[in-house]
Each structure stands twice: as C-alpha cells, then as structure tokens.
C-alpha cells in the first residue's frame, strides 16, 4: 500500500521538478523513499522487545495538575493518584464490580441510606502508621471543607449535610454523615439511596490522605520527598513535565500481588510524539494518546484495542435563541445529520454512532430507540416549523473549541445541514477558556459538547439536563424531566429505577435540547508482552497486578524484531 503511494509520488515529483528547486526534491524524495522502504506493516506496531527489568512504562498524556486526591479533576491525574492511594473499595477491571480495598467488607441498610465499612487491620500508610477510620473522616471532611476548594466535592454531597457543609451553610463537621465508630469501623449516612455509592468509594476524590503529612507540609505534601500514601506504589521521582517514577510500596497490604519493580509515567502532551515513543519502544502502553488520524492505520495491528466507553459527544442547542427555541427545528437538525458518516468515514476511531444521550455500555440500562438519519423527515419537520425548503431560516452558527477533531466534525455537520436542509450555517472556533465562557453564559447558538461519565450509572449523564444542573448549558427546562430525575433518586428498586430513567431519556430525545452524535471509544496501544490488563467501558486500568512477560519475546523466532 505504502510503496505504491511512494512510487506515485516519485512520478509526480519528476513532473514537478522544472520549477522546483532540485535540491529540495532530492532531499525530500530521498528521505521519504528511504524511510518508507524500511517500514512495513508488521503484526505489531513498532518495537516489541520488553525493557530489561520489570519496568512498566506508559505515557500519561500531560503533566497532572494535582497529585492530591482531594483536588483532582482530570483522568490523567487520577492515574497517578490511583498508584499512590487506595480507597475503601476497588473497581474490578474485569467485571466492574466493587471489590474490597481498604475496607475488608461492608454492610448496607435495607433503605440504602446507611453504610458500615469494616477496615482491614493490616492497612498501613507507607511510613508505617496504621490507616484507620479516622483517616477517612479526616479526608472526606477535608474534601468538603470550603477552603480546600475541591472541584469534585459534589461526589460527597450524597452524605448527610455534605452539600450544606461544603457551601458554608453548616460549619460543624460533626454534623456530616460520616463517623468513626472505632479505629476500624466507619459509618456513612447518605441523604438518599445512591446505588452507585460503592463505586464512588473507589473514586480518587474519596481516597484517604495522611493527615499527619498534610498538616505538616501544607501544599507541599505531595512532593516526592514528603508524600506518604497507602496504595500499591510509592512515588520515587518526579521530573516536572517529563515523568513520574514509582516503586512498589513494601507496606501495601496486598504487596504479594504486585509484580512490577518499577513504573514510569511520562507526561508527554503531544500525541504525535507520544505515538513515536510507542513505536520506538520507549513506552509499553498508550491510553489514547496518539493522533486520531493514525487510528484507521493502527486498526490492523494486534496491539491496538478499541472499546466503547462511558462518554458521549453531542451538540447543545441554546433553546433561548430562535429558531432553536422550536423543538421541531432542533429535531430536524438532528435528523439531518448522518452520524454514521461521521464515525465511520471521518473519525474512523471505533466511535459508535447514535442519537441517544446515554452512551452505550451501562450495565442494566438500555436507551429508548433513537431516530435514525432521515433527511426527508428532517425537511418535513423544518417545513412544519415554518421554513419550507429552508426558506426564511436565519443563519445559524456552530461554536466549538479549537481542536482538529472538533473542527472536522463541525465542518462536516455544517455541510450536511447545508445540503440536506438548504440553510446557512457558519462556524465559530474559540480557544478553550473563551469557549467555556461562551458556553456558560449561553452566548452561542449551537455548541459542541461532550461528557465523560463519573460513575457507571446512567444518571451521570441524565442528571446533566436537569434544569438546576450547573452543566446544563442549553437553557432547557422541563418540569416533567426534573420530576422524573427526582423520582429516580428516591427509587430503591433497580428495575423500576431504570424504567424511570428510560422515560426521562425519551423526553430528552423528543424535545432535543441536545443532539447526541456518538458514544466515544477508548483506543489504546498495548505492547503484546504486557499481562494483567482488562479492557472495560470505564477506561479503568489498575496497574497493581500488571506484569511483563519476558518469556514472550524469547518465543519469537526473529528475536522479537517483527519488522
């Protein structure tokens, strides 16, 4: 495939050469020919020799903003913190079930409001101090304390008085729904049954932090020389904007299961560079950090994996701005978008097209059937709304934040609307901060949006569109939708709860304040000699039990060199 392209290029060059400087042509042609000649598609992408020693290296995508679990927002920050700390529970990467972490076992009251966690007595901080229920009381109170300014404090709003305490309406921490009954028993009281609460206890925000270290060093407590954790690994080195290095924590209660001797997490934010690092064998794992344009090419390699994951990509309509205040117009626009062309022809990255707001992959939830691509119906709806053949339809504008893939999607949707509906569509592109400002202030007509689920329950998406939700940037308010959302919160029966949620999603689809486009896919590259990795829809990859199969390369006839 490649060689054919190159030979064509050569032909092209010789035709061009009269008015091009010959040195340039020679140099470029030579380098292209040389490099392409040697690169053939192998079974695996790039080098496949494991590094010497039990070292696992991956690119973490950027410099994390925080290491402190209470302050973390980003996924990549979470990867670092999950190596250093461990919550009450863990999420099993294979089944997504909650398995014991610091808590050995737990009891839940029948009304779903009261949790008792029994902590294991052999859980210790890495400096030898025992880890007790008081540490959790301290850590969770710290997350909720207004001055900590934790951006994910809302995960603890489920506790009795959590929200009130965080917003300063209550200042006595003893009123919070968390209490240490003794050193190894923790009692948690919730304000409403929260079926996914055990998942939250495995989430970074709810990790314990060492009070004695935090109080002693202040903001500097996460520096490599100060930090103390309770997770499977210890931070041994941190080079800003370059790398983190970890070694096993000898005091981790499950130390026997940890098989790696070292982990290196690079903070490389350029996707092209990142892909080069993988190809040349500098890293063993790339969680999504390679250019989207590479994906169609990478699909043929065995070390490439694509799994749908709990995130969606959608366009928000500002329902306050005519003509988008008319649900018929919104539905017409939605019907005129060929989602499959976007995912299969444009993105080609394993995304799953669909007009449902809740992404695929939630256990026990099925979205109601969504309307398919139907340009005729779209034209009809638009006519019904008073714009037959697109006549009299005002110019509309799509806002997106500066990023190549957003640009491409916006450009193709622009074309689909122009072609199918005969309307005028313009694009506006804003840099991240300005874009967010426009979005929050509703200074847009149509805006690119996306959401990544925080926990494996559809409400992590459906709650967004509640009229009071701070992330509902559409101006859409629907009392029936709000009522159903509230109802789902009180419902303890799992089956009935899912029915309620389906009903609310159906309203969302019919009213169309948002135009969902696809369920995201998590694409990754993983060297074939890595073991103990399990793909899942949460994009959750604990490294505790990962190991390197040194045997693997020796079994290869050509000494591991595939090319």
């Amino acid at each position: 495939m490649r060689s054919r392209r190159i030979s064509f290029l050569r032909g092209k060059l010789s035709r061009l050469s009269p008015n091009v400087d010959s040195f340039l042509v020679l140099l470029l042609a030579a380098s292209l020919a040389a490099s392409s000649g040697c690169r053939q598609q192998g079974e695996y992408y790039g080098k496949t020799e494991p590094s010497s020693g039990n070292v696992f290296r991956f690119n973490n995508g950027a410099e994390p903003e925080y290491v402190d679990p209470a302050l973390i927002v980003g996924q990549l920050d979470g990867r670092i913190a999950s190596l250093l700390f461990e919550g009450l529970t863990n999420t099993d990467p294979k089944t997504l079930a909650q398995i014991p972490g610091v808590a050995e076992r737990w009891d839940i009251s029948p009304d779903g409001l009261n949790y008792k966690f029994y902590l294991r007595t052999n859980a210790k901080w890495s400096d030898g101090r025992p880890l007790t229920a008081k540490d959790f009381v301290y850590s969770w109170t710290r997350v909720l304390a207004p001055l900590t300014v934790s951006r994910y404090a809302s995960h603890l709003y489920h506790l009795v008085n959590g929200e009130e305490f965080n917003q300063g309406r209550i200042s006595d921490p003893s009123l919070l729904g968390i209490r240490a009954l003794d050193d190894y028993t923790l009692e948690v009281r919730l304000r409403q049954p929260t079926p996914y609460f055990l998942f939250l206890t495995s989430f970074v925000t709810l990790f314990p932090v060492p009070s004695h270290i935090v109080e002693k060093h202040g903001v500097r407590w996460t520096a490599p020389e100060n930090i103390v954790g309770n997770g499977p690994f210890l931070l041994s080195e941190h080079q800003s904007h370059a790398r983190f290095e970890f070694v096993p924590n000898p005091r981790y209660w499950n130390r026997d299961k940890v098989r790696l001797d070292r982990i290196i997490a690079y903070s490389v934010d350029d996707n092209y560079t990142s892909a080069n690092m993988y190809e040349s064998g500098m890293v063993d794992w790339l969680p999504s950090y390679f250019p989207a344009e590479y994906v169609p090419h990478l699909k043929s390699f065995r070390d490439f994996a694509s799994t749908p994951y709990l995130a969606n990509y959608y366009y928000s309509f500002n329902v306050n701005k005519p003509p988008l205040d008319n649900p018929l117009v919104r539905r017409a626009l939605s019907l005129a978008v060929n989602r499959r062309a976007i995912t299969d022809d444009l993105l080609r990255g394993g995304q799953i097209p669909g007009a449902h707001f809740v992404p695929l992959g939630f256990p026990n939830y099925q979205s109601p059937p969504a309307e398919e691509y139907n340009p005729q119906e779209a034209v009809r709806l638009l006519a019904e709304a008073g714009y037959p053949g697109g006549q009299g339809f005002p110019e509309i504008e799509i806002l997106f934040n500066t990023l190549e893939s957003h640009k491409k999607i916006a450009e193709s949707i622009q074309q689909m609307w122009i072609e199918n509906l005969n309307i005028h569509v313009t694009l506006r592109n804003e840099e991240w901060a300005s874009y967010l400002k426009s979005l929050t202030n509703l200074e847009y007509q149509i805006a690119r949006s996306g959401w990544i689920g925080d926990y494996p329950d559809p409400t992590t998406f459906l709650d967004l569109m509640e009229s009071t939700n701070g992330n509902n940037h559409t101006g859409w308010k629907n009392s029936e939708y709000d009522r159903l959302t509230m109802l789902a919160r009180q419902e303890t029966d799992a089956g009935k709860r899912m029915e309620i949620l389906q009903r609310s999603e159906a309203i969302l689809m019919y009213q169309a304040p948002v135009m969902p486009i696809y369920t995201s896919a998590s694409n990754s590259l993983l060297k074939p000699y890595i073991r103990g990795f399990f793909p899942n829809s949460l994009d959750h990859y604990p490294l505790n039990e990962v190991w390197i199969d040194q045997q693997w390369s020796r079994d290869q006839p050509s000494g591991g060199e595939v090319r």
Binding site: D21, F23, L24, L27, S31, A34, S35, C38, R39, G46, K47, E63, E65, Y66, V67, D68, L71, V73, P146, L147, V149, S150, R151, A153, S154, N166, Q167, G168, V219, R220, T222, A223, Q239, S240, H241, A242, R243, Y266, S267, V268, D269, D270, Y272, T273, S274, N276, M277, E279, S280, M282, E431, W432, A433, S434, L436, K437, T440, N469, G470, N471
Partner: protein, 305 residues
C-alpha cells in the same frame, strides 16, 4: 566601561517594570480565567478559589501585591499546578532550555562558519552557489517539518536516536540539530559576507603575496575579523534560540521553559505566564548587555562611533 554597564542596568529597570505592568494588565483584560472548567463548579467553590488567590480583590490591589512580591523575587504559585511555584517551574525548565540552546548554538557555529568561509573562498563559483543553496534549505523548511523528518528517519526507521524526551546525551542530538539549522544559515551568510569583504583587503593580499598558505591566511588573518558580526548576531540569537525552542520542545517532548510558557498561556495560568515573560526579558537584556561588552572588547573602534 563600568559606567557603561551601570547605565545599561539602570535603563533596564523601567523596561522590566513596563513588561511586568503590560503583561499583568493584558492578562487581566483577557476573557476567561484560570479556574474555568468544563464541569460546572458550584458558585461557592468558584468564589473560594478566587479568594484563595486574591483574584476577588480590586485590580489595583492585585497589581500592588504582584509588584511587591516581585521585589522579593517571588513569582507566586502556579495557578495550573498549585502544588508548585513559578520559581520552581523556571528552576526546573530553564536549565533544560539553556542546554538545548547552547548545544544548538555550538552546532550552528560548527556548521555555519565553515560553510560561510568555504562559500566566500569559492566566491562566484558554482561551489559558492551550491553551498549557499544547501545552507539556505535550513531556513526554507520550518523546524516543525525538519524535526519530524529527522525523527522519522533516525528514530523510527534507523533506531539510532530516541524520538523524544530528555536526560540522556543521545536524546540531545536530534532536537539540537533541528534547532541549530536555521541559525547555521544566518551564521553562514554573515560569515560569507564579512569574509568576502575581508579577503579583499590589503593585509590579506599582502599575506598572500608573502606566500602564506591559503589555510593559514584564512585561519590567522581573515577569520579573526570575519567573526565580529557573528558575535553581534549572538545577542538576538539567544532570543531566537529560546523562543525557537518552543517548537522543538513540543515536538521532542522536552520539559523546557518554552513549552511551559505556551502551555501556561493556553491554560491562562497568569502567574506562570507573567513569570516566564519577565524571566525571559531579564535574560535577554542580560544577553544583549554581555554581547555589547564583548563587542567593545573585540573591536575598540566602537567607542569612537
């Protein structure tokens, strides 16, 4: 000389003050703030965040605080990475950029001076044109083409050098060459022009007439004078190398200050942006001063101009 240096330093102070003031107000006027995030933050938390960094104060109060901490050489905490200060970030990033810049400068001199001398000696001959053409390629292709091209050939095909990161000598090679190329072009052009003039002068003709070997003439007589403009080029070159390294640091994932700057500008990390701009201003003013001093030492005539 001391007076000259002192005067220059005194003049520089208002400039630095001006830079600090301009960047401060430009940043505050710009839309968006450092604590915006896609996920809505409850207004109470947002207010706490603003208060924590004093952003709820009147602008002039903020400005006053900023200036007073500057006097203590304290650039404040980074808004994006609150667990570190801007001083930390510069301390970590600048040595990396400096090493990269110096390595590139050495390579640029090693490539540029011989090429320029060679072209001058072969003046008007085909070899002159050829040398200058090859050299000119260095500025006809942007570094972000040359960089990936070198990576493609030397890292991903030949596996000679790592394609990214920093720390080992082998990781210095590709980025330093990429960064050096355009500068070697300028040095080659300067050297050529200057050598052409000098080779025409009487003392060179005399030396030649006396039967001194061509190499000796070049080395002992001509090159000494021919390098003066190259020295004056080094001042701006320091500036160029530091800003030019932004691209290189991005392509090769090098944890240098240039990359931190761009990243902090995009994420509206006010303190880091202001800190790096100020730091670079001081650096450039210093570099220019050093060059001026060097120039005076090398060329005594300059005082009389």
């Amino acid at each position: 000389m001391t007076k000259f240096i002192l005067r220059r330093i005194v003049i520089s102070i208002p400039v630095i003050f001006l830079v600090a003031t301009t960047t401060f107000f430009i940043l505050r006027l710009a839309p968006g703030g450092p604590f915006l995030s896609e996920r809505a933050i409850p207004p109470e938390i947002q207010a706490n965040l603003q208060a924590k960094y004093g952003l709820d104060q009147p602008l002039l109060v903020q400005y006053g605080r900023y200036l007073s901490s500057l006097l203590r050489l304290d650039l404040g905490p980074s808004y994006k990475y609150p667990e570190r200060t801007v001083n930390d970030i510069i301390r970590e990033g600048f040595p990396v950029s400096l090493q990269l810049g110096l390595a590139a400068l050495v390579i640029a001199l090693l490539l540029g001076i011989p090429a320029g001398v060679f072209a001058a000696v072969k003046h008007r001959a085909v070899l002159d044109r050829l040398t200058m053409s090859v050299v000119m390629l260095g500025i006809s292709l942007p570094t972000f083409v040359v960089g990936p091209m070198l990576i493609f050939v030397f890292s991903l095909t030949l596996y000679w050098f790592p394609p990214a990161l920093w720390g080992e000598p082998s990781q210095l090679v590709l980025p330093a060459i990429t960064l050096a190329l355009p500068y070697s072009v300028y040095i080659a052009r300067l050297t050529r022009t200057e050598m052409l003039e000098i080779l025409d002068q009487d003392y060179i003709r005399t030396a030649r007439a006396k039967g001194a070997g061509e190499f000796r003439v070049l080395w002992r007589h001509a090159l000494n004078g021919g390098l003066l403009p190259v020295v004056s080029f080094l001042g701006p070159a320091v500036a160029d190398l530091t800003t030019g390294s932004i691209v290189i640091e991005k392509i090769f994932a090098i944890p240098g200050l240039g990359r931190f700057f761009v990243e902090s500008a995009f994420s509206r990390d006010y303190t880091t942006v202001m800190g790096t701009v100020l730091f670079y201003s001081v650096l450039l003013i210093g570099a220019n001063l050093v060059v001026d001093i060097l120039y005076r030492v090398l060329d005594p005539r300059i005082e009389y101009r």
